[in-house]
Amino acid sequence: MAWHRLGLLLLLIPLFVWSHARLPHIAGQPPAPEMTRDWDQRSELLQGVLAGPIPGFWADAAVLNLFNVFDVARHTTGELRHRWWRELAYLLHEALSLDPRFRDGLRLTEGLLGYEPGFTAEAVDLLEQCGPNVSSGEYLLVASFLAHVELNQTERALRLADMAADKPDVGSLAQGFAAKLLLEQHGCQAALAFLEYRKSKLPLVYADQLQARIERMRKDPECRQDVPPANAPPEIDLPKTNAWETGKAS
């Protein structure tokens, strides 16, 4: 009787190995998403409920899953590629709705979603929504860049650059970028006015670079010839609080 059991066991082990190796995740062929999932309020609520006391871990798990999805998505084309990228966008929404300060999620939104045709607007939305939550201004600056270069939304790009300029790490870069946008769109006087405004929000000790930039612009022959545009400088929705005064940047 014992031999029968042993024989049965020996038969079952290869059967288990054979069947287990053919499971999609073991065989390295994850199935394509059956249908696209769009992120909406219900998804946000559902993920909040599922995450319970561990939203941070749930956001981490979404980013880990995203690595798998990206690995497949980058090798696909056509409609299938779009489906995979929609799944990727869903995972980024999930990670950032649970933890809006998660820099890995923001970095991947910029690096992956931001430059994929058809998903740039979604990436800018996400960065604009979550960027103010992190201490670094790089994500807002990237959102500004994407809005200007990819979406041709200069007013929005200006607003985002101005928000980025409040953050200490990219302050001067964001100011330069915003000034360049203004220069392109509204001429030299508007750019100078913007830089002066930014300078007024900085303690004097940090304003040297900005002052030098203003001086360079004033000496620029093209800028000297620049006649203030007939229409007044754009109404930019500039923030009313000063980060340096409120101590955020200390």
């Binding site: 006391p53 981490d60 820099r103 890995d104």
Partner: protein, 269 residues
Amino acid sequence: MNAAMALIRFTFAEVFHHRAYQLMMLACLLLPWLMLVPMSLFLLDLGKVLADLLFTVEHMLMAGFVFFMALPLMARDIEQKICHLLLSVPLKRSTYLLSRYFGMSAAMLPLMGLLLLSSAAVFVFVAYQWPDYTTMDLAWHVPLGEMLLLLPYLALLGVLFLIVVFASGSSESMVFLFSVWLLSWAVPPVLEALMRPEVATKMPHGLFVLVQGLEYILPDLTSAKLSLDIAHAQWPPPDMLWAYVCEHFSYAAIALIVAMLRFERKDLA
């Protein structure tokens, strides 16, 4: 008093000599170091990810303790009438319940101590190894956060005593305790979503008042926001922390007092 202290020590020893408990102690030492493996898969926020993983480990271990060590012990006491032996010391019924509660709470402390030490050590290691991706502050932020996350489980332990004195046996206790745990996990995010201005404005006024009342009285044992803030090395204001501590001790105390009232009148024959 001596009898109560003896029962607290007895409860601690009873739990401590379980092999499962000793394995949990080993897990508290080793799991924080094992979490370095998933942490290394991430790009920038390594400290935050490690903190998330450690908080998850703590939730698993503490939930495991309440469900698989504390609940069977208490359910067995009442179901198999072992409490008769202990009550014949003589010991008041309410003292018996309190001593059991404090004994089990004390048994959580060695687990927490080991987890805190191991977590602090692993954060010091990570801060030296990858200084650009984490901050040394997390080496004391996360252990303090772990101490705060213990409070929901002390409250859940109180709820366990309440359920055990009402339930007919261990299966019923398990079902009810699991339901409470699941509800405290799932309900707060739903109520929070319903209270958002964009949703609240579309809701009939009566329903909104009901939701508001529910949010006020239902226990929020998840402490999700707290763990997220601490993982980002941001502490909530002290008055909020104080409220958090008081809230959880109140849940535990209310549950225990109701349990004692019921246990005084329970027919143990």
